[in-house]
Subunit: 384 residues, 4 copies
C-alpha cells in the first residue's frame, strides 16, 4: 500500500459546514498521506468559506467564496492545486468540473456525474479532449473484497454469468425530513436531478454490479415509487435487468425501509459458483463454488488477488471500513494524477478507480429507469 | 400445542420409495401424535405399494395400488381414513382430491393446488359444496415466527405497508439433472404444470408474503428465464409486484443460484417499522421499529403473540426446524378435521392453515406470471 | 435414514404433566416411526398417571402409578415393553434403571446418569453383567454436524489437538424461580445431585467436547458460583481443563446470563485447523484449515462423512433442530436394541449413541469439579 | 467530531520500515487532521531513519538516528514536537518515555506499558511528578460501541455485575515464524517481557473488560501454554477471574487458533441484562435486558450515549473500523495535550483514553498471571 512520494495538493468545491460527504472526502484524502488539502470554495457565502477554511488550517487567501475565482486563481499559482474534489449537489458537478478541466486541473467528482445525459456526454468529451485524469467517487469499488469479487469473475471462477441481485437500502428518509440540509437538496429535482433514491444510491448499486461483473445492461424494466407525502422524487426503486450475454437481474434501492442503515449488497451467480458481499461487513466475501462448501474469504486472508491485496492497509481481522474504501479511490487518484504529471504510466491497478465513462453510464441508467417507469415498465435499453 | 383426543386416521396417495415430500408428510404427521397413517396408495405399481406399506407397518389390505380403489374402499370401512394426504406430482392433485372429497374424505394436499386455474376453481367449488376441510401444505406458514410476523402486521406495528421483498433461492438445479426422479417430474410441464421454479418454489414465496402481510397483489410484471440447456420449464423467476393499497415489491425465485440451499426469505417494510425473516434461521425474527434499535425476536422468547406461542413445542434456543413447521400444518389440520367430525368450531388459530382459497390464488399467481412474461413484462392483474 | 422394521414398544418412567423433557422424549421417539409408547409410570400419583396415559392413548392397564410395579408387570407380558425411557429427576435414575435392567429391559436414561460416582459405577457394572443395551440421552451428540466434527477430528483434519473451548449458557435461572416445577428439583441437591448448572448443562458441554475430540481430561481446575440469593446449588460454572496429550481448554456453563437461550457452543483447534459449532445453528459447522479460507459445512451439503449423512433426514437448507438430533439418539437406540433382540451386530454408526460409560465419566466430571472448587481450584484428576 | 484548532506536532520513536504498528499510528494520527508528524527516530540505523523520514515528507534534520538525541533536540526547538508516539518493542517503552517526559514532552505509548512492574510504577511516578499527559494506546477502547457498553454499565442497565467472558484469539503464530520481524521480537522475552500472547493480546482483553465494566480483579488463576516447539514465550493463555464485588470471569487469549483472525470479544452479564461485543464487527453491540428481546445497537443509530456519539465519524451503516477506533485515541490525546498546553480543562470524554494507571494495572495483570501459572494455578491477587 505505501506508494511513495510527496503529497499532492488538493482543492475542494463544496463540503462546507453541515455537509456530510465533504468531511468524508477530507478524511479519505488524509488517511494515506498522499494528499494535502490546500484550497477550497466551501460555500457560496465568502465569510462562511473563510471561516471554514481557517478551521481546516488553510491559508486565508485560498479559502474562496466562488469556485470560478478559485479555478482561475489556483491555475495561476506555481503551487496551485493538482486536483479538485467536487462535492456539491449534483447540478453543479458539470459546470464546476468543466471550469477546472478548462483550467488544466484534474477532477475528483462525486456521483452521479451530472443531472442529465447530454451534460454527462459533454463532460466526457471535455475529459477526452484535455487528456486530464478524472475520477468519479463510486467509493464502494474501493473496498478490497469488491475488487476481489471482480478478480474472481475475471478469472472465470463463476463461469458464465446468470443472475445479478443488487440492492441498496436505507431508512433515513422514511419520514418527511423537510428542513434537513442533506435531505432537502436530494429531494429537489432542480439540484439532485430526476432521481431521488435513484440518483443517490441506486446508481451506486448499478455501478457496483457493473464493476464486479463487467456485464453491460442490455435493457431494464423499472417501477419507481414515492411513499412519503409531498416528496418530489422517488424514494423506492425497483428494476429488473437483462444483461448482454443473457444474465438477468434485479435491483432494489430504497430510502424508506425501517431497520436498514446502509445496506448495499451484491449477489451474483454463474454456472459454476456464486458470490455474496455486503457493504456493512465489507471485509468478508462469500464464495460458493457449485457443489462445494462455501468459503468465507476475508480481507487480508490467504489466497486473495493482487487487486485485493494492493487495496489493503491492515491484517485480517482488523476491520477496514467505509473511509478506507473511500481512501482507496483517493489513493488511486493520487497514482493516476501523479503519473500524469510525471508523464509515466500509472500502476494498472489504479485504473480500477471509476472514471468519467462510468459516470456517463450511470446517468444513462438513471434516464433509462425514468423512461421505463414513465412507460409503465416497458423494457428500455441503456443509451450509453 | 394442547393436543386433544385420540389420533386421527390418515391415508396417503403418492410418497412411495424415492419420493422426498411423502416422507416429510409422514414425519410431520407423526411428530405431535395426532395422526396415525393407516392406509396408502404409494405407487401405481401395486407390488411396490404393498411392499412400501408393509415397511410402514400398514395392514396389507390398506396398501392400495390405485387411489380410486382406495377412496372407495376407505369410505366404506367403519375405521376408514379421516383424511387423505395427496403428495403426488401436481397434475394429479385435482383428480385425486376430487375423488376423495366425493367419497366424503377431507384432504391435505401438497402445493401448487392444480396445474391450471380452471381446475383450481372447480376444486374450490367442490370443497365449498361438500363443506369438507381442505388444507394446502404451504408449510412455511406453520413456522411460529412467520405467524408472529403476521400477528405484528395485524397489530399495526409496521403501520401502512410500503415494500415487500421476498425470495426463494436454491441451487440444486444449477446443472442438468435428467434422470433424477425429483427433477424429472418438476421439469415436465405435463406433470408439473407451466412453471418450473415458478410452481415449485415461487408459489411458496408468494404465499408467504400474502400470509404475513395480508396484502393482495393488484398486478405484476414478470421475467422468466431458463438457464440450463434443454430444460423445458423456467429455472429463474423475477417478478415486480404492485399491491392493493399501494405497496410495491419484488419476488425472486431461483433453482440455479450456487451456494443457496433453501433460501426462502421475507422482508417487509411499513411506515413505522420493518420485519425480516429467513427460513434457514426460522426461530428468529428481526423487528425494527422506525427510529429504534432493531429487536431480535426468538421463538419461545418473551412477549410473543398467542399465534406464535401456540405453534411452539420447545423453549427458546432449542431449535425447531422444517419438520416442526410442517407438523404445525398437520396439527392445525387435525384440529380442523377433528372439530368438523365433532360438529364444533375449531380453535381459531387452526384456521391459519392454508386452504383451497390460497391454492386458487397461487395458481392465479402462476398464470399471471406466465402471461406477463409472454407479453414482455406487461403489468398483469391476478385473476383470482 | 429409513431403517426398516416394525416399531419397538417403549415404556416411560416420569415425564407426566408439566414435565419438559418427557414430552421431548416422546416426540423424539415418534419422529422416525421406530417406537410406539405403550406403557408408562408418569407420576407417583396413580390417578395422574392414569389420566396422562389416557391422554397419550395408552391402554389403562399400562399406565402405572409405580415404576416397580411397571417393571414387574411389563416383564411378564408377552407384549411387554422392549425398552424403558427414564426421564425422572436425577436421584431416581439409578434405582429405576436398576429395576428395569433387573427385569431384563434395556434402558434409555436421561443425564446425568446418577447423583454420585459410586452409584454410577454400580449401574455400569450391572449393565455389563446383564449385557443389556443402555443409552444415555446426551442428545446433542445426535446432531449430524456434531458427528461430522467428530469424523473430521478422527480423520486427522485438525492435526494434533491443542485447544478446546466449550460453553453452555442460558438465562432462565437469572432470577429466583422458586415454585417453578422445572427449577425446583434442579435446585434441590437431594434430587438433582451436587451440581446445579453443573449437572444440568455443564455435563452436556463436557460430553460434547469429549464426543467430538475423543480427548480424555487429565485434570481440571474449577470455580463455581451461586449468584441468586437463596439458591442451594451453583448457577455458574468455570473450569479450566488439561487433556491427556497436552491440549488445554476452558468450559463455561451458566444459567444466569441474560440474553442467552440455549447457547451450547464448541470450538476446537489443532495444529492444522479449527472447528466451530453452535447448537443454536446446528446445521452449520465452520471448518478452518490453517492458512486457507474457512468453509461453511452444512448438513445435507456436499462432501460430508457417512456419520453425518446417516443422521440426516432432510436436504440442506431445510433446518433440522433439537428434536431431530434427539430423535437420532432414539433411532440409534432402536438399532442397538433391535439388533440385541435379533442377536445380530448393530449398524456401527448406532454405537455413536452415548452409553453408560459416558454416564460414569460425566458423574466423575461433576465430582472432580466440586472437589476442585472446594479446594480453591486445585488441579484435580478425573476419577473415571 | 470535528474539534477545532491547528494540528499538533507529533514525533515518533520506532515504526520504521517493516513495522506494523508504526504505520497504524501514523494513519490514526492523520485521520482527523489533528496531528502533523514532524519528527522521528524510526530506526537505530541513522541512514534508515533518514530515508524513512524522507518518504514521510519530514525535514531531514528531524529524522533522527537516536531517540536520546531526538528528545534533546526537539525540546530545544521552538517548533519542537508537542507529543511523542513510542511504538518500539516493549523493553524500550520505559527508557524512551522517561527521556521524553524528562524533556517535557507528553507521551503516547504502545502497550504493554513496560516489561516489569517496578519499571511501570517508576514511570507512573514520573508522569505524576511532571504532570504531563500520558496516553496508552489500548486502542480498542476507542471504538464507539465499546464506549457505549461502558456507558450502559455506568447507567446501571445491567444491574449488579455477575459474569465477564473475554477473549482475544488469533492464528498467525500457529506455526513457527522464526525470521518474521513481527514474530521475532514478540517471542523474545528480553524485548517483549515475560509474556507472549499474554503481553501482546491478553493485556488488551484485560483492559477491555476493565474499561467497560469498571470492575477491579481481586484474584486470578492462570494456565499458560506454549504449543509451538522452540517458542520461548506462551502462545495460549487461560485465566479465571474473581472480581471485587463478587463477579466471576474467564479470559482466553491465543495466537494459535486456526481460523481466528483478530477475535477480541467481550460478553458481560449482570442481574438485569447482558452485553456482547466483537471487535470484528465493531459497529454493533447486542444488549439483552433480562426478559426482553435483545436489541442490536449500532454505531450512529438512535438512542446512544454521548460517549458513543462523540467518538463517531460516520452515519450508521457506513462501517468504521480499526483505524477509526485507533484514531479516537489520537483525537483524545490531542484534546488532552492541547488542553494541557492551553492550561484549560479538557473535554471530559477525552479522559476515556487509557493512561499510565491502566498501564501499571496491565503489567500487574501480566505478573499475576505468570505467578499464578508458576504456582500451578493458585488464586493470585493483582499487585496494583
Amino acid at each position: 500500500m505505501s506508494r511513495q512520494g510527496a503529497p499532492l495538493r488538493l482543492g475542494m468545491v463544496g463540503g462546507g459546514p453541515g455537509a456530510f460527504i465533504g468531511g468524508v472526502h477530507r478524511m479519505a484524502a488524509r488517511l494515506d498521506g498522499r494528499w494535502n488539502l490546500v484550497a477550497g470554495a466551501f460555500s457560496s457565502d465568502p465569510a462562511v468559506s473563510q471561516d471554514f477554511g481557517r478551521s481546516l488550517g488553510l491559508e486565508p487567501a485560498r479559502a474562496y467564496g466562488d469556485w470560478r475565482t478559485m479555478a482561475r486563481a489556483e491555475a495561476e499559482r506555481p503551487d496551485g492545486i493538482e486536483a479538485v474534489a467536487v462535492v456539491t449537489p449534483n447540478h453543479l458537478h458539470a459546470p464546476i468540473a468543466t471550469a477546472f478541466l478548462g483550467a488544466g486541473v484534474p477532477v475528483i467528482c462525486d456521483k452521479p456525474l451530472t443531472v442529465d445525459l447530454a451534460q454527462a456526454r459533454a463532460l466526457a468529451g471535455l475529459v477526452d479532449q484535455t487528456g486530464l485524469p478524472f475520477v468519479l467517487t463510486h467509493n464502494y469499488s474501493g473496498y478490497p473484497m469488491v475488487r476481489e469479487a471482480r478478480a474472481l469473475v475475471q478469472a472465470g471462477r463463476l463461469g458464465r454469468l446468470r443472475i445479478v441481485q443488487v440492492e441498496y437500502v436505507q431508512d433515513w428518509l422514511a419520514r418527511d425530513l423537510t428542513g434537513n440540509k442533506q435531505a432537502d437538496w436530494r429531494g429537489d429535482p432542480s439540484r439532485a436531478g430526476p432521481g431521488g433514491a435513484l440518483g443517490d444510491i441506486a446508481t451506486h448499486a448499478y455501478h457496483l454490479s457493473r464493476f464486479v461483473t463487467g456485464a453491460r445492461t442490455a435493457a431494464l424494466s423499472a417501477d419507481l415509487a414515492t411513499f412519503v407525502d409531498g416528496r418530489r422524487v422517488d424514494d423506492n426503486v425497483h428494476v429488473q435487468l437483462r444483461f448482454e450475454g443473457g444474465a438477468r437481474g434485479q435491483l432494489w434501492a430504497s430510502q424508506v425501509a425501517p431497520g436498514a442503515a446502509n445496506g448495499l449488497r451484491l449477489r451474483i451467480y454463474g454456472e459454476d459458483g456464486g458470490l455474496e458481499w455486503s457493504q456493512e461487513e465489507p471485509d468478508l466475501l462469500r464464495h460458493a463454488p457449485l457443489g462445494e462448501a462455501p468459503r468465507l474469504l476475508r480481507r487480508g486472508g490467504p489466497g486473495l488477488s493482487l487487486a485485493a491485496a494492493a487495496a489493503t492497509r491492515l491484517p485480517a481481522g482488523h476491520p477496514e471500513g467505509y473511509l478506507e474504501g473511500f481512501a482507496q479511490i483517493y489513493a488511486d487518484a493520487a497514482e493516476l494524477i501523479g503519473a500524469h504529471r510525471q508523464g509515466r504510466s500509472p500502476d494498472p491497478l489504479a485504473r480500477l478507480a471509476p472514471g468519467v465513462g462510468d459516470g456517463v453510464e450511470g446517468v444513462a441508467f438513471i434516464e433509462a429507469v425514468v423512461a421505463s417507469h414513465a412507460a409503465d415498465g416497458v423494457w428500455t435499453p441503456l443509451a450509453a
